[in-house]
């Protein structure tokens, strides 16, 4: 299995002197292509920080991170933006769709930044909307959709350009159990069909039970990393 993400002695420290907080503390981690991972742990355990570091949304205090063999910790802002655009998909707790754009346009946003022509974009957006079960809802704006539907659009946006890895931070936190289950089924299906790598930071046992690799964090360290059959 090829390694998508590699973290070596990765640390992130906030504050200074005696007020220092080690949000991520010398973490070593390898994520392989096709992994479906849950990253769990109590609040403040460092799971979101680790996700942000992998996604290049935050910078490490020390250590190495590579995504697709590229050193994320050495990149400037512009290179990080390019890396996120072409290699990483994000799904956030609060959906984070662009409110002035329709579902189509939100999904096409990434492709538009990548310079993909309009005719190809719409075909891909149509296909992915069908895949996430939102056919016919492409013209709706986020405010005209339910939370579950918005999160499906967010997943569609995250995977439409076939990124190396999708990082999802508490994607089910704002959803009811039915919508959560649907979303997880969708992500698992995408993982199986397209071999898309998912890393899902969560508190939710339902999510953890869905994943085939379960990483648990405590005080900035990984204290458990197990695979299920």
């Amino acid at each position: 299995m090829s390694v998508i993400v590699s973290c070596e002695s990765l640390s992130k420290t906030y504050g200074a002197d005696e007020l220092q907080v080690h949000a991520v503390d010398a973490v070593n981690l390898q994520i392989n292509k096709g992994d479906f991972i849950s990253l769990s742990g109590p609040s403040g355990s460092g799971k979101t920080t680790l996700l942000n570091l992998i996604g290049g949304l935050d910078t490490a205090t020390s250590g190495k991170i590579t995504v697709d063999d590229k050193r994320v910790d050495k990149m400037n802002k512009s290179e990080l933006a390019d890396m996120r655009l072409n290699h990483i998909g994000f799904v956030f707790q609060a959906y984070n769709l662009i409110p002035v754009l329709s579902a189509y346009e939100n999904i096409e946003f990434i492709m538009q930044l990548q310079g993909i022509p309009a005719e190809n974009r719409r075909a891909k957006a149509d296909a992915i909307l069908e895949e996430v079960g939102l056919s016919g809802m492409g013209e709706r704006r986020p405010s005209q959709m339910s939370g579950g539907q918005q999160q499906r659009v967010a997943v569609a946006r995250a995977i439409v350009s076939r990124p190396s890895i999708v990082l999802a931070d508490e994607p089910t936190a704002n959803l009811d159990s039915h919508s959560s289950n649907d979303l997880l089924e969708l992500m698992k299906q995408l993982n199986k069909e397209h071999n898309t790598t998912f890393v899902i930071a969560t508190h939710d046992q339902q999510v953890i039970d869905f994943t085939q690799r379960r990483i648990h964090m405590l005080d900035g360290k990984i204290d458990m990393d197990e695979k299920t059959l």
């Binding site: 996604g55 996120r84 990434i110 538009q112 310079g115």
Partner: protein, 413 residues
């Protein structure tokens, strides 16, 4: 190109997210631009009114006198009638109208009162297209020829002298030898002009009467002329001076700018004032614009973080805000410019200053302004505001592009 389309689309839609605020900002920019262009046009109209009034009163585009006459406008300092070559030059195509005059300080006495004035002996026909007097007679009649009897008084002077049409007044003035010359005249006409000072200052008689009264044969005090094209003035004056030099004639030849330094200063001041007002108005607009854009940026910090998280480079965020500002300024500027041009066209047949005219006429301007569309000036103001507005929005745009994704992305809506 795809990215540009995206930025334009996002910017345009973002503009209408808070349409009330956007409309208020459009309005403030529009009103500001409207005020700038209309004010600039009115100031120009006022300056032109001052210039035209000054030229039309008696000055013309230039005058020729004896040396020292302007320092001491005395009959002692007079010149000969233009000779053949000078006349040929004055009759050339460059000149629209010219005339000779006798102009001396005098005292007018009616049966009731007396007053100092400037007595002007004129050639009635030659004054057409040159000065105000042929078209300003509101009572009585203008002169028919260079020997016409009678005197033309301003309405204000006539009132002061408590005299009227067909009544007699006596003019006293110093002759060339220092003796006092006097002659009685019947009031032939009363003239009215917007500048009341002019009505008090000048009285007109025919030039032959002036010459015979003062015993100066065919001598004159001044030659005044206007050109078809004012841009030709320097060239013409140079030719006239050259002619005088060849014939060793010493005369004082001065352009309107030298004769009316106050008018020249007012014209210069107008350009400066327009520029200053434009800058001041822009500063007021700029505060509103920066405030609006900063508010829009602060409201959307999370969104800018999201856009960066999704792969938008910080410079793209900067472009997006600048495009937003371009729309915001552009619409405001276009609306303001169209409104201002409509306003100027509406008042182009004359804007009566009414009560404000008192102050205006003090500087020689007319009571009625005739604003005109100055395309170059309007374009400069509009483009200046537009471009400066975009430059001003660099700060909010820079702030937006500096948002760090991780600090904003997880904030709740």
């Amino acid at each position: 190109m795809e990215k540009l389309k995206l930025f334009i689309s996002l910017s345009w839609r973002n503009l209408w997210r808070n349409y009330r605020r956007t409309l208020i900002t459009f309005s403030s920019i529009g009103v500001g631009v409207w005020a700038m262009i209309v004010l600039a046009s009115l100031m120009e109209a006022w300056a032109m009114s001052t210039f035209n009034a000054s030229i039309n009163t008696l000055t013309g585009h230039a005058q020729i006198h004896a040396e020292k006459y302007l320092q001491d406008p005395n009959i002692e300092y007079r010149i000969d009638m233009p000779d053949e070559r000078q006349t040929d030059l004055l009759n050339s195509d460059t000149i629209k109208a010219w005339s000779v005059r006798v102009r001396v300080p005098a005292i007018v006495q009616s049966e009731r009162d007396n007053a100092p004035l400037m007595l002007v002996g004129i050639n009635p026909q030659a004054e057409n297209n040159l000065s105000f007097i042929p078209n300003s007679i509101t009572k009585g009649a203008y002169f028919n020829d260079v020997k016409s009897p009678g005197i033309l008084l301003g309405k204000k002077l006539a009132k002061r002298l408590r005299t009227d049409l067909n009544k007699r007044v006596v003019i006293l003035s110093q002759g060339p030898n220092g003796d006092i010359k006097e002659r009685g005249f019947r009031v032939n006409g009363i003239y009215e002009v917007e500048q009341e000072d002019t009505e008090s200052l000048y009285a007109f008689i025919s030039i032959k009467n002036a010459q015979s009264m003062l015993k100066i044969d065919s001598d004159i005090s001044e030659i005044s002329f206007v050109l078809h094209d004012l841009n030709e003035l320097d060239n013409f004056l140079a030719r006239y001076k050259e002619l005088n030099k060849l014939k060793n004639i010493k005369q004082d030849i001065k352009s309107w700018a030298e004769l009316e330094p106050l008018t020249l200063a007012l014209l210069d001041m107008t350009s400066g004032t327009i520029a200053l007002l434009t800058v001041i108005m822009f500063i007021l607009i700029a505060f509103g614009l920066v405030n609006t854009l900063l508010m829009a940026v602060y409201e959307r910090t999370r969104e800018f973080g999201l856009l960066q998280a999704l792969g938008m480079k910080p410079t793209y965020i900067l472009y997006m805000i600048l495009i937003e500002s371009t729309f915001l300024m552009g619409i405001g500027v276009i609306v303001g410019t169209l409104l201002s041009l409509s306003t100027i066209v509406y008042f182009s047949n004359g804007l009566d200053l009414g009560a404000l005219a008192e102050g205006s006429t003090m500087f020689g301007a007319g009571r009625i302004m005739y604003p005109e569309i100055n395309w170059i000036q309007s374009s400069i103001i509009a483009i200046f505001v537009w471009v400066m507005g975009i430059i001003t929005s660099l700060y909010p745009a820079w702030r937006a592009s500096r948002e760090v994704p991780v600090e904003t992305i997880n904030k709740a809506y």
